[in-house]
């Protein structure tokens, strides 16, 4: 237990100390919030969609979490490069404890980042409609954090260097974000796009978050929770397995 705790604590300390990273990873969500939120706001309203910021904010929160979580997982590559990974891998503890500590720490960091983005959204004019549902929103934020940290961990365990990082950003993380319903409603879309959105676990996170924050569920609270929970468990399993196979 204490092993998981100390590795978790390490991730949090590293995050708090890397102020440039916190600010840097806020840039993209803020950019999307401002450019899209205010840029498309009028059009969206005229089309009868209501307040666009109210619609967009949960998607932007999910985006902030997604980026931080995947990156936290991929940090394994840096630890491998700077040698710290060896220190943990020759310790007399199981790899499962190490990977769980890392994943929980990474998820916690992503969750904190999500809360910060949440704050930014409120500043930009986002209003929570039912405060009683806030804990539900936090549950969804935590699930998204853990799911994508596990995904990052799985990727980081397989890659040996950062060469593939742009590839992951452009062909995995960005599509996950764009095809999740984070920035547009998922109803009435072309078939192919609708299928992609239904296959993307982030869609259920965005839907859950949006539902909990007062905009109504599309897939339903139960479906969102079951899909996210199952995917998190599966990816944690895959991540742990791949991590346990790391050779130095």
């Amino acid at each position: 237990m204490s092993v998981i705790y100390i590795l978790c604590l390490r991730q949090c300390k590293r995050y708090i100390r890397a102020r440039a990273r916190i600010i840097g990873s806020l840039g993209q969500p803020i950019l999307f919030l401002v450019a899209m939120g205010f840029g498309f706001g009028r059009t969206y309203e005229k089309a009868g969609g209501g307040n666009y910021i109210q619609f967009l904010a949960p998607g932007i929160i999910a985006m902030g979490i997604l980026f931080t979580a995947v990156f936290s997982g991929i940090e394994i590559i840096w630890d491998r490069q700077f040698g710290f990974l060896k220190e943990t891998l020759v310790a007399p503890v199981s790899r499962l404890q190490i990977v769980l500590g890392r994943a929980l720490g990474g998820a916690l960091v992503a969750l904190i980042q999500g809360v910060i983005v949440f704050g930014v959204c409120v500043v930009a004019g986002f209003r929570v409609e039912h405060l009683a549902y806030l804990p539900v929103a936090l549950v969804f934020m935590s699930l998204i954090s853990l799911l994508f940290t596990a995904l990052g961990t799985a990727i980081g365990s397989v890659l040996e260097d950062m060469q593939a990082f742009p590839l992951i950003m452009n062909f995995l993380v960005m599509p996950l974000f764009f095809f999740s319903g984070a920035i547009f409603p998922v109803q009435g879309l072309p078939k192919a796009l609708a299928i992609a959105i239904h296959l993307n676990p982030l869609s259920y996170g965005v839907d859950g978050l949006r539902g909990a924050l007062g905009h109504g569920f599309i897939f339903g609270l139960g479906v969102d929770l079951v899909v996210l929970g199952t995917m998190t468990a599966i990816l944690l399993g895959i991540g742990s397995y791949l991590f346990s196979r790391i050779q130095l």
């Binding site: 204490s2 092993v3 705790y5 100390i6 590795l7 390490r10 300390k13 590293r14 100390r17 890397a18 590559i77 840096w78 630890d79 491998r80 490069q81 700077f82 040698g83 710290f84 990974l85 060896k86 220190e87 943990t88 891998l89 020759v90 310790a91 007399p92 503890v93 040996e160 260097d161 950062m162 060469q163 050779q247 130095l248």
Partner: protein, 265 residues
């Protein structure tokens, strides 16, 4: 004399290439044992096998009476290691690096603070304990890594080129600690180095490995006598030849170069 490390017929292959080819040796308890060889001779591979990082393809090994393959956990508790490359977390302070290690190695929480204080004072870094280790010099990092390796009071200490790239003052300093440790705590030290004069000065016993085979084993004096040479350096060259060995840059080296390019640390 009983042996702390016992290796018989150890084999490790990477595909067709036989990195370690049926080697056998013993490291007496409480000795400082030098494992020497040219680049690519199989030194680091052997250390990796002894420290459970790599699995051997054959042979019998005992470290502190345990088998690194079947009793991984027990072996890991038995040794402290200073790797060839640094392995500290630069974004943590010296103290935090040691605390993390203490938890990983299950040092009881009551003993953590006094033990950390003891080892960090031993390497004379107590005054700098609150600093981030990324701001440490190479020598300070090495000293901290030695302190860390001693934190869980292991009977064996593995040092893979512990003084690589350090100035003579720091090297001298580090070896003085290690000798004092051996004298006071009866710890067994297994080290590799390319500095022959260093090995000659500190090692009680030396094994020379070349192309995956042990060429000879004995005290520095025995090795010189055997080769009819004046220094261990000459003896080493007499035993392993003049040819320069090439080693391919490992993938880790490549990542490191890439990391530098992107300006991390």
């Amino acid at each position: 004399m009983s042996h702390m490390i016992e290796v018989r017929d150890l084999v490790k292959k990477f595909g067709e290439f036989c990195a370690v080819d049926h080697i056998s040796f013993g490291v007496p308890k409480g000795s400082i044992f030098g494992f020497l060889g040219p680049n690519g001779a199989g030194k680091t591979t052997t250390i990796k096998i002894l420290t459970t990082i790599l699995k051997p393809d054959g042979g019998v090994i005992h470290v502190n009476g345990h088998d690194p393959v079947r009793e991984e956990r027990e072996v890991r508790r038995s040794f402290g290691i200073v790797f060839q490359d640094p392995s500290l977390d630069g974004d943590l302070t010296a103290l935090e690096n040691l605390e993390l290690h203490a938890v990983l190695y299950g040092v009881p929480s009551k003993e953590r603070a006094p033990r950390i204080e003891e080892v960090i004072k031993l390497v004379e870094l107590w005054d700098r304990r609150q600093e981030f280790t990324k701001n440490y010099s190479g020598g300070m990092k090495r000293r901290l890594e030695i302190a860390r390796a001693l934190l869980h009071v292991p009977p064996v200490l593995f040092l893979d080129e512990p003084t690589l790239g350090l100035d003579p003052q720091t090297r001298n300093h580090i070896w003085n600690y290690i000798r004092a440790l051996r004298d006071e705590r009866k710890i067994t030290v297994f080290f590799t180095t390319h500095y022959m004069e260093e090995a000659e000065r500190v090692a009680d016993e030396i094994a020379v490995i070349d192309r995956g085979k042990i060429v000879t084993q004995g005290t520095p004096a025995e090795l010189k006598l055997k080769t009819q040479t004046q220094s261990l350096e000459d003896a080493f060259i007499a035993l392993t030849g003049h040819a320069i060995r090439d080693e391919e840059a490992s993938s880790i080296d490549q990542i490191r170069a890439f990391g530098k390019m992107w300006g991390r640390r």
